[in-house]
């Protein structure tokens, strides 16, 4: 087995705030091989975006990052600015959540696409233009040639996200980070965009990280899923294994919170009660304990470490994983 393309090794991110240090990412270990897809799932504020920014080294200036991010044999944390700049866009690309703001409003689509291409691939203008048209066609934009002369506001949201994907793909990156790529889009467009990402990923054999709050998004598309809560990875497993048998009560609660078509009208959604813990005041015990319906005294006293389940590659951080609770109940 080859060495993984990306290894996140004991990464922690701290942000100084007036109320004390905020631990946005709390010692996360993850790895991803070339051509594979990792889904990172969690609710708002659980640190998933901060983790992706840590990989890209685009954290706010005040943030403190510890640990190692090994990408393609280099430690991104210690790489100098110039080398890092060349790596970004070329080998490491990103698609942001909101296509309304991730494109420059006053530059044409053609300018924005061609600039990245010319910067990294050292092509001349006609070649860059040709490649831009190919890319727009590849992401399913009709009449790409005319689109080049248009401004972002002349395109719909789904169209803009396709353009953002085209820009991200323009230099054949080895790793694509999609940070909530469909959250700002219409439900009908979501599936199209996700399929597009999956198709281009297979075609280009690139690794991909999909960050989302929606377990449904990663279900059919990720090879492996990491569930984050309060800055930590609380469960990590191959997608099949996770959906077959989840161990962490938080994962179960996330899944239960997705609205289903077959529930009767006016049924209240089983939302997760309470709120994530204040990240400036870390809890002594399990960070999910205050909201967990299985929590016992021990959960509030000690922090569960990530440990392996019987399935290989399945890790979870819980003292009372779900199927054992059921056994106790019977």
């Amino acid at each position: 087995m080859s060495a993984p393309l990306l290894t996140i090794d004991n990464v922690a991110v701290e942000l100084p705030t007036p109320r004390g240090n905020l631990r946005a990412v709390d010692h996360v270990d993850l790895s991803l091989e070339a051509g594979r897809t990792l889904g990172i799932v969690g609710e708002s504020g659980c640190g998933k975006t901060m983790l992706s920014r840590a990989v890209l080294q685009l954290l706010p200036k005040k943030a403190k990052l510890t640990g190692r991010v090994m990408f393609d044999g280099q430690d991104l944390v210690r790489l100098d600015a110039e080398r890092l700049r060349r790596l970004r866009g070329r080998d490491l690309a990103v698609v942001f959540q909101d296509p309304m703001t991730s494109l420059n409003p006053v530059l044409t689509i053609g300018t924005q696409l061609m600039e990245t291409i010319q910067e990294h691939l050292e092509l001349d203008a006609p070649a860059a233009r040709k490649r831009s048209i190919e890319l727009l066609a590849a992401v399913g934009i009709p009449a790409p040639e005319q689109r080049l002369a248009q401004y972002p506001h002349q395109c719909s949201g789904g169209m803009r996200q396709r353009i953002a994907i085209a820009i991200a793909l323009s230099c054949e990156p080895k790793l694509l980070i999609a940070d909530e790529p469909t959250t700002a889009l219409d439900v009908t467009i979501q599936a199209q965009i996700l399929d597009l990402l999956a198709r281009e990923q297979r075609r280009r054999h690139m690794a991909m990280i999909i960050i989302t709050h929606d377990l449904g998004v990663v279900a059919g598309r990720a090879d492996e899923v990491a569930v984050m809560y309060a800055g930590r990875v609380v469960e990590r497993a191959p997608t099949q294994a996770l959906f077959k048998r989840m161990h962490m009560p938080y994962t179960e609660a996330l899944l239960a919170a997705i609205p289903k078509l077959d529930t009767a009208p006016h049924t209240p959604l089983p939302a997760i009660s309470g709120r994530p813990p204040d990240p400036t005041r870390p809890l002594r015990g399990c960070s999910f304990a205050p909201r967990c319906r299985y929590a016992v005294e021990h959960c509030r006293e000690a922090k569960p470490e990530l440990k392996s389940a019987e399935m290989p590659g399945h890790l979870y951080a819980c003292f009372h994983p779900i199927q054992m609770v059921e056994e106790i109940g019977t």
Binding site: R85, G89, S102, V106, E115, A143, A149
Partner: protein
Amino acid sequence: MATLELSMQDEVSAPIRRRRKLGLLFWLASIWLIVILTLAILAPVLPLQNPLDMDMLERRAAFSGEHWLGTDSLGRDELARLIFGARVSLTVGLIAPMIGLALGGALGLLAGYFRGRFETLVVGSMDVLLAFPPLIFALAVTAYLGQSIPNLTMILGVLGIPAFMRVARAATLTLARREFVIAAEALGASHARILLRELLPNVILPLLAFFLLGVAVTIVVEGALSFLGLGVPPPMASWGSMIGEGRDSLDVAPRLAFLPAVGLFLTVLAFNLVGDTMRALTDPRQGAL
């Protein structure tokens, strides 16, 4: 077997340059500006009388075939002085805001993007400049360096820097946090490229609108300074100094003050009208945001 053909012809119309009615006012304003600019540029070759030649027998003469717009209180041809005065007013009025635009814009862009100690330094020094009374500054510079058009332009240009800096910095601050800047960084753009290609095209729009306002204000301020005797040195004409000289004979020949005032008023108005229309036409964000 019948085949079902799906024609995938998505008609995307080429970007349509909408022809919009520019309006009569815009055309009138453009024509006025063109006429004034042509006259000012061609002044030395036009068959005009020397604006500095005095004729003490023909002081404050009325309109006549010889002096179309009469003469001033020293018997100088009013029409020639108006046209030569436009040269001064327009030169100062256009170049001084350019100094402000270039220096203030650059400082504001850098301060808003890099933040930190550099921003504190820039904003602090601009506050000092703003707090300094502009008249004292103009007096001090003319006292040391003398009265001349370049000095006047420099004074007005420097005085304009803080305002341009603030406009540029405010625009940059809001833009630098937008996702497209992070996206550009994530795509490997250097600081220079983010500043010049991502931020500048966005920041230049409010700056240009402010520039046109600056032209109008500078022409008026130049008039005020010349009126106070701090502007162009005496025999030379500028609209402001002509209004100042005309003040002495307001009761006998009010036209001497009113003619340059009308020229000033129409030119400033025309700059604003043209500027507004141009901005509305060129802003690619129309309908967005």
